[in-house]
């Protein structure tokens, strides 16, 4: 079994995309880890759907004596306050999202299509739908970054020609970061910019449904 990048490394690589001063919303799963890996010297303003902006990291298990029930993110995790933090109500939290005031959102995905369609809230009609703010995020944020494993647990591609699962939003994804690749979503198709060390382009293409355009300056993923 060839070695792929782990979740922390994917989160670290995603952190590199964020510019100083950006207002960013982080989804559940790998995206939530990104707040631990913001490069030194960069200030990122975290936005959470439940109306808190500019908060710090999530408290660790041994820090819970500092936990404040009135300072949680939208996953119920206790947060560290930061100077300049502010609280708004829920409608205002989404003014910030839908009104185009977020520089980026980082989300997980079930599937991403070659045109950048995103599916990440339901696999079948029979399961309980879990939507949350993903549709608002995908539509409202200036940049949508997807962090995910390249394939499912059964080894099937998650980057597909057309999504088979119900869509979260159409043509919204700008960048895909997986445990094998960093891929730009462009008008001309998916461009492979960076690859996991030890993997060839052909091996990555074999696990990706649409034809990848290989960037002229293709390099290895580095942190």
């Amino acid at each position: 079994m060839k070695v792929r990048l782990d979740r922390e490394v994917i989160a670290m690589r995603a952190g590199k995309e964020l510019l100083d001063g950006w207002v960013v919303n982080l989804g559940f799963g790998i995206p939530a880890l990104v707040c631990n890996y913001v490069p030194k010297g960069k200030t990122i303003i975290n936005h959470s759907e439940n109306g808190i902006i500019g908060y710090g990291s999530i408290l660790a298990e041994d820090e819970l004596d500092r936990a404040d029930y009135d300072l949680v993110d939208n996953g119920g995790h206790f947060l560290t306050p930061l100077p300049g933090m502010c609280i708004v109500d829920g409608a205002e939290a989404f003014v910030m999202v839908r009104g185009g005031h977020l520089d980026a959102t980082i989300l997980g995905a079930l599937q991403v299509s070659e045109r950048g369609d995103l599916a990440n809230w339901m696999t079948s009609e029979r399961e309980a739908p879990t939507l949350g703010g993903a549709m608002d995020m995908a539509v409202g944020a200036k940049m949508t970054i997807i962090t995910m494993e390249h394939t499912t647990t059964r080894g099937e591609p998650k980057i597909v020609k057309r999504c088979t699962y119900p869509l979260t939003a159409k043509e919204c994804v700008d960048l895909i970061i997986t445990d094998l690749a960093v891929i730009d979503v462009t008008e001309n198709g998916l461009v492979l910019r960076e690859k996991c060390p030890g993997w060839t382009v052909e091996e990555i293409q074999a696990l990706t449904e649409p034809r990848l355009i290989v960037a002229k300056d293709l390099k290895e993923i580095e942190l």
Binding site: F28, S48, E49, N50, G51, I52, E61, L64, A67, D68, Y69, D70, L71, V72, D73, N74, G75, G76, I87, V88, D89, G90, A91, A93, F94, V97, R98, D117, R126, E127, A128, P129, T130, L131, G132, G133, A134, M135, D136, V139, G140, P166, L167, T168, A169, K170
Partner: protein, 236 residues
């Protein structure tokens, strides 16, 4: 002299009938969830309820300290009091068993799924007398099915309609006797919205003070929207 204080949560929910629509201003954690009012509604036993909210039964563990648990709307589902939920999340979160998911999968409860931002804006519109609004969120997805759409300045939008309810249950930090409310931190979330959109708004609070003790600049929910206040029984 306006005094909206009720003697108990049981008294505050005593007239919630079967088939009522109830907005619940809860999210995650014991200080944002109106535990006393939810328990009182469970004890009242009103049936065939329609619930509206962002957390209608995730199980009472998210936002609690490890091993901790608080009462959440899941107890109404477990007591078979609910016929429909309008919410943005009907499944698990964090891998924990969720009463709403269980009720949905067993067919006991009908669920209308709404994108979270749209849900909050629909509640805001309901309280604000807005007849409907256009949002781009959900275009090209299952969410747009059956809804009117419009192209405005070259962009496609879905028409979404307001949400109102018979009752709203919410938790605030402090109230004065006129019903003016102050929230603390992330426990604010959707409480100010549901407060405006229900015919009868009931708030449970940690502290009740005299009018004049709350600074007008920091009141989050004017007492105009609030009908009944109850003091909570639990410690923070």
């Amino acid at each position: 002299m306006i005094n909206k204080v009720f003697p108990s949560a049981d008294a505050a929910v005593a007239d919630i009938p079967d088939e009522a629509s109830v907005m619940i201003g809860a999210y995650m954690g014991p200080t944002t969830t109106p535990q006393n009012l939810i328990l009182a509604l469970r004890n009242r036993g009103a049936r065939e309820l329609t619930l509206v909210g962002v957390n209608l039964g995730l199980g009472g563990m998210l936002g609690a300290k490890p091993g901790g648990r608080y009462i959440d709307p899941g107890i109404l589902l477990e007591n078979k009091q609910v016929k429909k939920c309008i919410t943005s999340w009907a499944g698990k979160l964090g891998g924990q068993a969720a009463p709403l998911e269980k009720a949905y999968l067993s067919g006991e409860v009908e669920v209308e799924i709404v994108p979270m931002g749209t849900l909050l804006e629909r509640i805001r519109a309901g309280g604000a007398g807005i007849g409907g609004f256009y949002t781009p969120v959900g275009m090209g997805t299952l969410i747009e099915v059956g809804k009117e759409k419009k192209i405005i300045n070259g962009k496609e939008y879905i028409l979404e309609l307001p949400l109102r309810a018979d009752f709203a249950l919410l938790k605030a930090y402090k109230a004065d006797k006129m019903g003016n409310l102050v929230y603390r931190g992330t426990s604010r979330y959707n409480c100010p919205l549901v407060a405006t959109a229900a015919r009868v708004t009931i708030a449970e609070v940690y502290e009740i003070v005299e009018p004049g003790e709350l600074d007008p600049d920091v009141i989050h929910t004017p007492g105009v929207y609030v009908n009944r206040i109850v003091k909570v029984t639990e410690e923070r």
